[in-house]
């Protein structure tokens, strides 16, 4: 298991587009990815749950990845929260 505390830097927060991007990128991996945000556990592979989380810019999120490719999953999330996947 690997984990990290990340801060969301996406310009407009994790709204629908970023959420879709995240879920699509995570889908091929087999690691389980859980986001801890405002006291709730969020399955990062569920588009609805990610959107329901309402993660805003500047929010801190604890990311926990578990599985064979957990390191790749964590790297992907680090990149994601830096906002480099924003295309707005």
């Amino acid at each position: 298991m690997v984990s990290a505390k990340l801060t969301a830097l996406n310009e407009t927060g994790v709204h629908m587009r970023p959420a879709q991007v995240l879920v699509t990128k995570l889908a091929p991996l087999n690691a389980e990815v859980t986001l801890k945000h405002l006291g709730k556990d969020i399955n990062a592979k569920s588009i609805m749950m990610v959107m329901a989380a309402g993660i805003k810019k500047g929010h801190e999120v604890e990311v926990i990845c578990q599985g064979a490719d957990e390191v790749a999953a964590l790297a992907l999330l680090e990149e994601f929260f830096k906002g480099v996947m924003d295309d707005a």
Binding site: M16, Q20, I47, M48, M49, A52, A53, G54, D87
Partner: protein, 649 residues
């Protein structure tokens, strides 16, 4: 924030037809535009489609959420459609989309993300999605969303920006009204809403007919900067001694909650020093006398009436049932207790009835002089009821009951006698003063009240008999106008003083053995909510969507004789609604009198119809009055243009 703040029924289309994704989007843009949420539909649609071009907004499970931050959006706004057959929306799971929400937000801010997040929390629930698809009309759709949101987040959402109220600094309120059915709760709700709007930490206790709810704790009171008492009857106030207390009518709680809260927050209220149960503060009358004299009398009277009502209701219905279960032919002279069943009902009912006047007098006195007033008041009330006098005791002249009027007199007399005794004992040594509540007030109070009542009863008896005989001997020429007048009074201010005056007269008439007056009074109070509900059902274009939404409840309110249901409608459009109700109620009251309908129970609405005298005619009177009220509402009220795009577009 609530989803239903942004999603109104006018922006929902149910079971709509759309062949393609773009048709569905155009339909939603149309709904937003019709509701005035966007300034330029073409521009907005372009922004929505531009967003779709970057990637589908379809989430899967047949759900799509097209959205745009657009300069054409005037305010954050939601629209929704359900489709008869889904459209191809490039869904990740290949399903056709048939449940589509459209979010419009102006540029900047987080509204967009918050709405989306909240919606997703709810829509994750497959049951909810299914329910929304099955909704048959826009109002139902919005209600389903609302209920799901309440189930998830609680009724009023306290989001992160409003941290749970710290206990210190909460403004407190107590609401109470004589019947404790409607006004108590309306005032509590109005205050609560206003407090939220002004973001003032607030707690309200209701003293309704079901007892005290959400009681203020000693801790609450200790910490509170000020307390609002919005009550038309006696409430427990000794606990507020030393606090800033604002005393107002319950109606003020309903009509000017914000002003009251601001006043309380600013601390513009006298320090309450109590009514002097222990006689501590010599200037104790300052707070009490700031209430106007008439309002004080009204409050005392209503305290008596509200405590008496359960006795009249229980007794009245039981006695009426006794007649219902009896056989007139056995012995007409003792009709009502011929069969054993009737006899049982009759005696229990009479036991309740016989307590009515003592209770009335006792609780009037209690309202005036607090607990020490109760015993002398009850004693005085019983003497009034029995009609005992010096003449009847010493010379054997017949005792004539002084009835309701004598009991009123006994109540006020007892209250002020005990107040006087309290004043007299105030300057006595401490050791003697302790004897006040345990010996002096009960003994001297009851004796003085008793003596006065023995002296006055013959006079009251004459007045009461004259009134009772007058009522009973009235011919149709007097009875019908009386019925019209009383019924119209009932609907004039829907629970206010005029209504209560008519109501108390009706109850007093029962106490004097005339039951027709009460029949006219109750029907007058039932017509306004029913007439409004009928009008909203058959002439919906006279009412706003919110008004229509609330209308079904008014059937129930009307049938239960809760006139207060009509208040929101009357308040919104008094010049048209009140006269319509007044005329409808008047007709019912007059007809009830003309048909010789009688009612022994002073409350209960449709539930006591079986024990009404001439129930069929009574029902007819109710129906005719309600229909007339409805017709007048339809004629007088202006049509509201239907902006609601009921789409089958």
């Amino acid at each position: 924030m609530k989803i239903t703040d942004f999603l109104t029924a006018s922006k929902v289309a149910i079971q709509a037809q759309a062949g393609t994704r773009d048709e569905a989007i155009r339909l939603l843009v149309g709904l937003q535009n019709a509701a005035g949420a966007i300034s330029d539909p073409e521009e907005f649609e372009k922004d929505i489609l531009a967003r779709e071009a970057k990637g589908t907004t379809c989430i899967g499970e047949g759900l799509a959420v097209p959205h745009a931050k657009s300069t054409a959006a005037k305010e954050p706004s939601l629209a929704a459609v359900t489709l008869v057959t889904g459209v191809d929306y490039q869904s990740p799971d290949g399903q056709l989309a048939d449940l589509i929400f459209m979010i419009a937000t102006p540029p900047g801010g987080d509204a967009h993300l918050e709405i989306l997040s909240r919606m997703m929390v709810l829509l994750m629930d497959a049951d909810l999605r299914q329910k929304l698809r099955a909704a048959k009309e826009p109002e139902e759709f919005v209600r389903i969303v609302d209920e799901a949101e309440i189930a998830k987040y609680g009724s009023e959402t306290k989001t992160e920006e409003a941290p749970p109220a710290e206990p210190e600094g909460r403004i407190l309120a107590v609401t109470a009204c004589p019947t404790g059915v409607a006004h108590t709760y309306m005032a509590a709700e109005a205050l609560d809403k206003a407090a939220q709007k002004l973001s003032i930490p607030f707690k309200v206790e209701t003293n309704g007919s079901t007892g005290i709810q959400n009681p203020l704790t000693a801790e609450d009171i200790k910490l509170a900067p000020a307390i609002i008492v919005a009550a038309d009857k006696q409430v427990e106030t000794e606990r507020f001694v030393g606090k800033k207390v604002i005393f107002v009518k319950v109606a003020d709680g309903i009509h000017k909650p914000e002003a009251l809260l601001k006043q309380a927050q600013a601390g513009e209220a006298p320090i309450y020093e109590g009514s002097g149960e222990a006689g501590a503060g010599s200037a104790s009358s300052s707070a009490a006398s700031s209430e106007s004299w008439a309002r004080g009398v009204y409050k005392d009277l209503m305290n008596g009436v509200s405590h008496m009502l359960p006795f009249v209701i229980g007794g009245g219905v039981l006695i009426a049932l006794a007649f219902l279960f009896d056989d007139y032919s056995i012995n007409p002279a003792s009709f009502g207790s011929n069969t054993s069943l009737a006899k049982v009902f009759m005696n229990i009912g009479q036991a309740a009835f016989s307590l009515m006047l003592p209770i009335l007098a006792g609780f009037i006195a209690l309202s005036i002089a607090d607990r020490p007033g109760l015993a002398p008041g009850v004693v005085g009330g019983l003497l009034a009821k029995e009609g005992l006098s010096f003449g009847s005791l010493l010379y054997g002249s017949p005792a004539v009951s002084g009835g309701f009027l004598a009991a009123l007199l006994a109540g006020f007399l007892a209250g002020y006698v005990v107040l006087g005794l309290k004043k007299l004992t105030e300057n006595m040594p401490r050791s003697l003063k302790a004897l006040g509540p345990v010996l002096i007030f009960p003994l001297l109070g009851s004796l003085l009240v008793g003596l006065v009542m023995l002296g006055l009863n013959p006079l009251m008896g004459v007045i009461n008999s004259a009134l009772a005989n007058g009522l009973n001997a009235m011919g149709a020429a007097q009875k019908i106008p009386l019925g019209v007048l009383l019924a119209a009074m009932m609907s004039a201010d829907m629970g206010g003083p005029i209504n209560k005056a008519a109501y108390v007269f009706g109850v007093a008439s029962i106490a004097s053995g005339n039951y027709e007056v009460m029949a006219a009074v109750m029907i007058g109070g039932m017509v306004p909510p029913i007439a409004i509900a009928l009008a909203a059902t058959f002439f919906p274009n006279r009412f706003t969507p919110e008004e229509r939404h609330g209308a079904p409840v008014n059937y129930v309110m009307g049938l239960c004789f809760i006139t207060e249901g009509a208040i929101p409608y009357a308040a919104a459009d008094p010049l048209r609604v009140i006269p319509s109700c007044l005329v409808g109620a008047g007709l019912s009251g007059g007809l009830a009198m003309a048909f010789n309908c009688g009612l022994m129970a002073p409350h209960g609405g449709v539930f006591v119809f079986p024990v009404v005298k001439n129930p069929g005619a009574y029902l007819l009177a109710l129906v005719l009055g309600s229909l007339l009220g409805m017709a007048l509402l339809a004629i007088l009220k202006k049509k509201i243009p239907l902006t609601a795009a009921r789409a089958s577009a």
